[in-house]
Symmetry: C2
Subunit: 195 residues, 2 copies
């Protein structure tokens, strides 16, 4: 078993368990056992223990979430349609996971914002990069830079909150509704620019 495989399996396990149960409910022992990693090699990969593993898991989970959004934007006819498609695909994936696999950042962010400066910093950075990446796509569609930053923040806030409401209600509706609403809002703003 290669070194990278062990490390990757630890991170994948941590990402999945933190999204499902949160940071504090997931013990180091569970992480080790579920990833099937020999105890000896863990110390080598994550000498900082659960906190260090969580930083890596958030970075990897965040990178995947970013690619996921970009993937659906590329497959849509327009940026407004891309937003709707992204929200819809997240909604159906959430239901398929039995409403278990939410945002790779939000639960850990809320749990550790006052307890771990390293995790708080990692979560804040991940949210910031997500917004910058979305703002870039909005600018490319023709939205002015300042407005693109605002809209990216607003869309991301709504995305995170809709994920919470969707999981709590076990319903795709909050995400579907938010996707449709922002598709309409963005299409209106782009039409106004064309006039």
């Amino acid at each position: 078993m290669s070194t990278s495989t062990t490390r990757e399996r630890m991170i994948e396990t941590a990402d999945r368990l933190f999204r499902r149960h949160g940071y504090h409910a997931t013990s180091w022992r569970t992480l080790v056992e579920e990833s099937g990693t020999p105890w000896g090699s863990i110390q080598h990969h994550f000498p900082g223990g659960k906190e260090e593993l969580a930083v890596a898991a958030i970075e990897v989970g965040h990178a995947q979430a970013l690619s996921y959004r970009e993937h659906w934007f590329e497959r849509a006819d327009s940026v407004p349609a891309g937003i709707r498609l992204w929200f819809e695909k997240v909604a159906s994936a959430l239901e398929r996971s039995g409403w278990e696999l939410g945002c790779p950042i939000a639960t850990v962010a809320l749990e550790t914002v006052n307890a771990s400066p390293a995790l708080a910093e990692t979560c804040a950075h991940a949210f910031d990069v997500s917004q910058r990446s979305l703002a870039k796509d909005l600018r490319a569609a023709g939205i002015a830079p300042a407005r693109a930053r605002e809209l990216a923040m607003l869309i991301f806030a709504t995305f995170e909150g809709a994920l919470i409401l969707a999981r709590a209600a076990r319903s795709q509706k909050p995400l579907q509704l938010a996707g449709k609403q922002f598709e309409a809002l963005l299409a209106d703003e782009l039409r106004a620019l064309d006039r």
Copy 2:
């Protein structure tokens, strides 16, 4: 010390600690010690332990959050202005708490949605009541019932997500921006109805 005081102090302590650190990081021992409650009387008030106390804490925290929104709606000149004022007041209160006191529901909801049916149900109910209450105010302002339900869901999703982004970034901006955006959106919809 009256019976109701002991119970209330336990609930207030639980609400504060769960908002700050989450459900799993707050031990039963910490709850007992921080509330200054004699061990003997706790069993009497919460025979179901931490889970039962958390259900009560979410119900109380939710009722306070609901009154808080209504308070600012009553003080605003219009429903659109009420939304902006509510978001702004939550933003400044969050900063005053050292970015510690977020939503009384969200952290526990994310942590327990897959682990505690009782808590998941309590959180889902609290989110539902919040949306119904807001939808009622939107209907009173003239928004059609189906659209009022949609807008209430959207505004609540954005509120919850903006609280996460605000805490992570230690910035009032996500909440302030969302408040302004929904003030404008709602004012537009009401103007369109007048035409």
